[in-house]
Structures are given as structure tokens and as C-alpha cells.
Subunit: 152 residues, 2 copies
């Protein structure tokens, strides 16, 4: 799906839920689409959106992100560092992707592979818990930082 298509689709979702399509919301969506691989905080999103729509306020970005979160268009995630980050949902992906958080450089990488297989079924059966979604993050050292160690 191209950025244009994704944008159009999300616009329709917004519209269908009774929200107006303001330039501010479109700019925010564009920033999210253009930085799909990153895990931007609200401040960071604000910074990028400001370059497209300099008059925008931070509160509007927060409000837009809340709507997108409610509509399940983005996922609000936290990596235990006290800041909320916003992660665009992969369209059509069965599962929320996983993350690799490097404890040294702080970089967050996404992996799309489904590592959980039938684990959700096990949880459903054994704990009588109706699974809707999951969050899986590995903490460790990324390849780049491992190399730095070998050099020294």
C-alpha cells in the first residue's frame, strides 16, 4: 500500500467515525506514515508536523493521536522510559509486530515475524483469558553495539 492509499484509507476511517478531516490531522497522519519505522514521541511528531503546518499546537497533536489510538490506527506504546510513543498499525497485519530495544544505544527495531505462533491459544486455554493483542519487546544489545565491544 502506498502512502497515498494509506492516507486515503485512514481519512475515510476518520470520516466514517464522524471526525472532520482538518489539515492538522492530515499533517499528523503524513508524519506518521513517513516515519513508519520509527517510534516517535508526541513531541517528536509535533516537531515534524510543525514543519508542514507551523501554526499547529502540541495539544492538537496529542488530541489527534488520541483519536487515532481510539480508532486503532496507531498503538500507544511505552518502553519503560516514561514517554509514550506512537506506532502506526501495519494494515492487515494479523499481529502487532515485536520490538528489539537496545539497552546501550536506545535504538528500537521492529520485527514483523510472528514469533508467538500458538502461544496466544495456550494463554486462552490455560488462563481463560480472551487475547486481543499483545506487546513483546526484547531488551538486549544490537549488532552495532556488539561490534563496538569487540573492537575495544
Amino acid at each position: 500500500m502506498t502512502t497515498g492509499e494509506a492516507l486515503k484509507k485512514t481519512k475515510r476511517q476518520l470520516h466514517d467515525s464522524g471526525f472532520k478531516l482538518t489539515p492538522q490531522r492530515e499533517a499528523t497522519l503524513l508524519v506518521l506514515l513517513e516515519n513508519e519505522k520509527d517510534h516517535l514521541s508526541a513531541e517528536e511528531i509535533f516537531f515534524f508536523v510543525k514543519q508542514k503546518s507551523p501554526e499547529i499546537g502540541l495539544a492538537t497533536v496529542y488530541r489527534t493521536l488520541e483519536i487515532l489510538s481510539d480508532l486503532k490506527i496507531v498503538d500507544k506504546v511505552s518502553f519503560d522510559d516514561g514517554v509514550s510513543r506512537y506506532d502506526l498499525r501495519k494494515d492487515g497485519a494479523k499481529h502487532f509486530h515485536h520490538h528489539l530495544l537496545c539497552l546501550e544505544c536506545g535504538n528500537i527495531e521492529e520485527i514483523d515475524e510472528d514469533l508467538l505462533g500458538n502461544v496466544e491459544e495456550i494463554v486462552e486455554k490455560r488462563f481463560h483469558f480472551a487475547v486481543k493483542d499483545h506487546r513483546l519487546t526484547f531488551h538486549g544489545i544490537c549488532q552495532q553495539c556488539q561490534r563496538k565491544h569487540q573492537e575495544s
Copy 2:
């Protein structure tokens, strides 16, 4: 391991790292041990500690939790709700336990079972990422809340 033993062991860890064993720190540890199954926020911990040591300040609780976190005695975890929670590490547990977060009542349950099996190895090999720890949380509906739906 009994509470007493766990307390003694943690005391030694603190001591070995050059920290003093103040009554405030001991009270905080006790609260964590007595509520091992919960996922208390700093405020909640403060509330309980205050019942043991009414003169304690919230800042001290935060400072104690930071030390315990640095010493890997507790894990700081966030469930995407904007509050940090503190989770006592199971002594001797190979893996950080997993969580079941109910989207309706907000309750968080712990599960100790190792659901990830060889997944860490896969991540190591396929992504050249040296895994140190992980966080796995399932979002869904707990048994109690499921029952409420059936009744209505």
C-alpha cells in the same frame, strides 16, 4: 524463599553495593515483598510504606525504587497508561514473567510459565541481537469480565 529470607538477601545486595540499610529502604522492600503479585505504582507503594513509616517522603520512595531498579532487584514496567509500576524480580527465575492485562477492568495478572521457549534463540540468530531480557504482555479480557458479558 520466605519473606524474611528474601529481605535478608536483598539487604546484603544493597550492602555489597555500598548502600546503607535505612528503615525507609527496609519498609519499601517489605511493601514490595508483601505485594509481590501486584504491580504497584510509586504512589501506591508510598501509600503502603507510609503506614509503616509515616514520616517517609515520596521522593525517598522514588529514590529507593531507582536503586532497586539499578541493582536489578525490581523491574520498572509500564503498561501504556502513563504510570511506572515496579515489579519484584522473582529470585532465581530464568525469565521475566509475563502479564495479562484486562482491557476492561484494568487488572494485571502474572503468569510464570515460560511461553517463549526458544524464541530468544531465534531472535539472537536471525537478528543478531543479544537478548538480555524481555517484556511480554497480552491485552484482552479476563475470565471475570467475560462472565459479566454472558450474564447480560
